[in-house]
Subunit: 134 residues, 2 copies
């Protein structure tokens, strides 16, 4: 019965969406685990930086993504944006307490990554090697 199958899938989707929306970890990952966020947070761990400083610190980020990512982090209360009305304008970004509290986790992740990256690379090489046989 096609109709009920479709209905079932639609229902699954609703349940799934509710699940996704409710899952705090997903929310947090969505905020801090995208292409630039973790890098920016880490960059700000050492102290506040101006927009242009961040652009240099996190080399390779485009204007657009820098601003966009900063907005999301500001929106979620991880960083604070301070505008100083001078000529030219000066904008500083710094971690909030919430942002600071994230550092231990990012630190642990960094440590784990540096410790295990070789294993991962080795696993990849091995996997590639097996692929060549097939």
């Amino acid at each position: 019965m096609t109709v009920t199958a479709e209905a079932r899938r639609a229902q699954d989707k609703v349940v799934y969406n509710a699940f996704m929306a409710a899952c705090p970890t997903r929310q947090v990952l969505a905020t801090i685990a995208d292409k630039w966020a973790a890098l920016l947070i880490t960059a700000l761990a050492d102290g506040s930086q101006r927009h242009s400083e961040l652009a240099r610190t996190v080399a390779g980020v485009s204007q657009k993504m820098l601003t966009q990512t900063l907005r999301v982090l500001e929106r979620d209360g991880v960083i604070a944006r301070t505008v100083t009305a001078s000529v030219p304008v000066r904008v500083d970004y710094e971690l909030t307490d919430l942002g600071e509290s994230l550092m231990p986790i990012l630190g642990a992740l960094k440590t784990w990554s540096e410790t295990h990256i070789r294993e991962i690379m080795a696993a990849r090489d091995e996997y590639e090697a097996r692929e060549l046989v097939a």
Copy 2:
């Protein structure tokens, strides 16, 4: 001078790419922080599961993304795939030692998320409120 500006940007890009490729944390985030990976790893934390079990546990994932994500995790040595040649075929997935070693971090992330999700939500609401004024 347009030429040098372009050359500069190209050079920045090379430096950036090298930086990205060399950064272990980025590699790890690319592996575990995508839409489904963290969910799958967490699902396997309680013990091995079959392909179809995972599909049910992580409700909402498509066949394609389930298989694709499992492949990446297998490739990076985070999970192990075991095929039992029977009829029908049986495929089990389980965490490797490397995958297990990831759990404390994922656990910490989960704890942090559950602890601070309210603050994040509050920050968002406040941000939205400010937006309305402007």
